[in-house]
Symmetry: C2
Subunit: 435 residues, 2 copies
Amino acid sequence: MGNREIRVGLVGAGIVGGGVVKVLREQEAFFRYKLGLPLKLARIVDKDGSRFAVLPVGDAIFSASPDDVLDDPSIDIAVELIGGTGYAKDFVLAALRKGKHVVTANKALLAQHGPEIFKEAELRDVSVYFEASVGGGMPVIKTIREAMIGNDIASLKTIINGTCNYILTRMTQEGLAFAEVLKDAQAKGFAEADPELDVGGGDSGHKVAIMASLLYDGYVPYSALSVEGIKDIAPEDIEFARELGYTIKLLGVIRRESPVSPIEVRVHPAMLRKGHILASVSDAFNAVLLRGSAVGDILLYGKGAGEMPTASAVVSDLIDVARNIAGGTPRRISMDYYDESRALPVKSLGELVSRYYLRFSVLDIPGVLAAIASVFARHSISIASVVQREALEGRNVPLIFVTHDSVEARLRAALAEVEVMDFIRDRTQVIRIEE
Amino acid sequence: MGNREIRVGLVGAGIVGGGVVKVLREQEAFFRYKLGLPLKLARIVDKDGSRFAVLPVGDAIFSASPDDVLDDPSIDIAVELIGGTGYAKDFVLAALRKGKHVVTANKALLAQHGPEIFKEAELRDVSVYFEASVGGGMPVIKTIREAMIGNDIASLKTIINGTCNYILTRMTQEGLAFAEVLKDAQAKGFAEADPELDVGGGDSGHKVAIMASLLYDGYVPYSALSVEGIKDIAPEDIEFARELGYTIKLLGVIRRESPVSPIEVRVHPAMLRKGHILASVSDAFNAVLLRGSAVGDILLYGKGAGEMPTASAVVSDLIDVARNIAGGTPRRISMDYYDESRALPVKSLGELVSRYYLRFSVLDIPGVLAAIASVFARHSISIASVVQREALEGRNVPLIFVTHDSVEARLRAALAEVEVMDFIRDRTQVIRIEE
C-alpha cells in the first residue's frame, strides 16, 4: 500500500531477460494504466555489460553485481533469470530475506529446493511466482492453481520439453537417427551444446515435479520421480510404432487414483495412439492435458520455451505480484503445497500398470518365439500382438511384443529371465504405451 | 477485511447452478483451507423448489425470491445463473447497487449491456467476474486478461459453440443434412428445443464480443459484429470442402492489424485446411487459438459448456473474488475496457480480405463458366480453382469457384451481377476460407 511505483530488479539479461526488458518497455504505458501506478525496471544485472547496450532499458541502472539488487531497499520484486541451482539459490533466498518478492523461471531450483524457498517466502510475508518455470508462455501454473481450483485432478499428461519433441518429430518425419538429429539441432541452435538435461528427461522431470506438487497440494521432490530420456529411441522403434498405429513422444504423466492413493509421477518415452490429442503436438510445441473432476479434459498448447514466450510468462507474474503489492495482499495465493512436511507418497515404477512395447533383438533361430512366450506366460503377462519379420536364418532380427495391461515389476522379472537367453543379441527396448 | 466468512447467494439452481452447489460442497474444507476462511453458500434461489431437494445444500437457506439475496446484507457475492437479458439484468444491477460482487455465466447480458453493468460495479467498488460466460471450464478470460497481459494480441480464432460443432462434426462424419442432425441432437438433449441462439451464431457472437472487448481494451458491442450461423451449410458443401482439403467449422475471428486499425470481429462458417489445429476440434469440444506478440500461438481446448465445466469456471471466479474480498482488494483487476466511451471501431464485412468458396447452382448449358468467369475478371477477382462435374445437359449442377484473396465488397458486387443471370437456379453459397 502507498507505493508510488513498483520497482523491479532483474538479474540475468540473457535470452529470456532481454525479452522481459523488451516487453516491460513496450507495454510500459499500458501497465501503468492497468496497475494505476508505474511498474519500473530499476536495475538490470548481468556479468556481460554488452548485453545492456543492445536493450531498450530506459533509465534502468546497469550493474555487474546482483548485490546491487539485494542491497537496494527500494526494489520490490527481484526477477531471477540466472539459472541453475548454485548461485541462483543463494540469490533467491537472499532476496526473500530482504523482503523482496521473487519471480523466477528456474524449474531446477524449485523442483529441487522448493520447500526451503517457499518457507523463506512465508517467513518474510512475500511471494515467489514461477509461471515461466513450466511451459513458457502457456498459463500452466495459473490454470492449475486458479482456474481449476474447483477440480480434483485425476491426471495430467504433458509434452513439456521442446528440444525432445523437436528431435522426435524429425526422427518420425525423416526416419533419421537420434544422434544425427541432435547434431543438426545443435548446429541450428535448437539444442544446447550440453543436451543432457533436455534429452535425458531431467528438464521435463523438473517441470513435472513442480506440476505434481501443485496438483496435489503437497511436495513431490524431483528425486522421487522416475525419469527416462529419449537417447535410446531407435528409428526402428519409431517405424514399428507407426505400423502399430502409435507415435512416440517424451511424455510426463502425473496420476492419482484417489486422494489417498500414492501418486504416479514419471517421465519417459511413450507410445500414443494416432488420434490421441497429444500425438499431434509436433516440433518444438508443448502441451499439457489435464483431466479435472468438474471440467473434464482441458488442453493447453503452445511454445513452451524461447525468448519471448518465457518472457511473456515472467511479465504475467510481474503484473500479478505488482497487483498484490498495490493491493496490500503480498501473499494472495498460499504456497503451503511446497512444505517438506507435506511430502506426498509416490508410487514406485514397479507398481505401474501399463501396456508395453518390447523390441527384442534376437538371433533368428527356431524356438525363439516359443521360449519368450513361455516365460511371459509363466509370469502371467498377456501378449496383445507380436510382429516377427521374415529374415535370413542365423541373422539378428527384431521381434516385437505388445502386451496387455501388466504390472511393471512382473514384466521386468520376465525380461530378466529372457535377457540371459542365448539368442538375445542386444538390450531389449521397452516403451510404455499410454492410453 | 475482517470478514469471518465469505457468504454467497446463488440465484438459478438449474443445470449449472446445481453443479456449483456440488463443487462448493465437495471442496468446502479445501477452500476454507486455501482462503483461510469459509466460503459459505448462504442462500439458494430458484422458482422450482424441487431442485433444492436434490442438491447437497448443507445449511443454505432456500428461497423462491431473488430479493432474499438482494436484501440480505450479509451476502458478499451474488451468483447470477438466471440467464437472458431481462430480469437477469435487473438482478445484477440491483446486486451491484447493494454493494455485492457478482459472478455470472451470462454471455448475452455482458455482450449487450456490459457498459451499464461494469459502470455500476465501478461506482460501487465491487467487481463482476464472468469466466463462465466464455468457453465453460477453459480459462479464456483469465488467459486473456492475466496470463497474456504482456502481449499485443494479433488475432483470436475460436470454435466456441458446442452445439454447432457437434452438428457440423456429425454432418461431416456421416454425410447427413443439417436438419436431420439437429433433430437427432434435440432428441438426445444436445441441442435446445429452440436452437436459434446456437445454430444462428448468436451464442458464439456474444462470446466473441466479450473476448474482443477484453483483447483490445475497449467496448465491442454485439451489435457491431457480423454473425452468420450454420443453417445453410449443405452436405454437398462439406463434401466439396473435403475434396478441396478443407473442413467446415463455425468460426469466430477477432483480428487487428495494428493498434490503430479497426477490428475484424465476425462469426461465420469457415473452411479450415486439414492440418489446421482448429480443424481437428470435433464434437462438442471448443477451442480458442490466440496469437500473442510475445507468446506466439497458444491454444486452449476443452468442453465449453455443460453442467460441471461451467460450474468449474463459476467456482474459479468465486475463489478469485473471495481472495479479493479477504485481501481487501475488491477491484483487483480493472474493467475499464467495457466503458461505452471506449467503443472500438469495427471493420465492415465489405472491407474483409479473404479467400472464398462459392457454390453456384446452375443449369448445365454451354457458356455458363465463361459468363461467370468474365464477370469475376471484370471485378478483378482472381480464381484459384474451379470444380465442375459432368452432368446431364439441361440439369441443375453445382459449380464451385475458389478465389484468391479478394475484398468482400468486390466479391459481393460480382455475385450480384452473376445471380441475376438466367442459368442461376438457386442462391449461391459463399463460405470464407480461413488460413
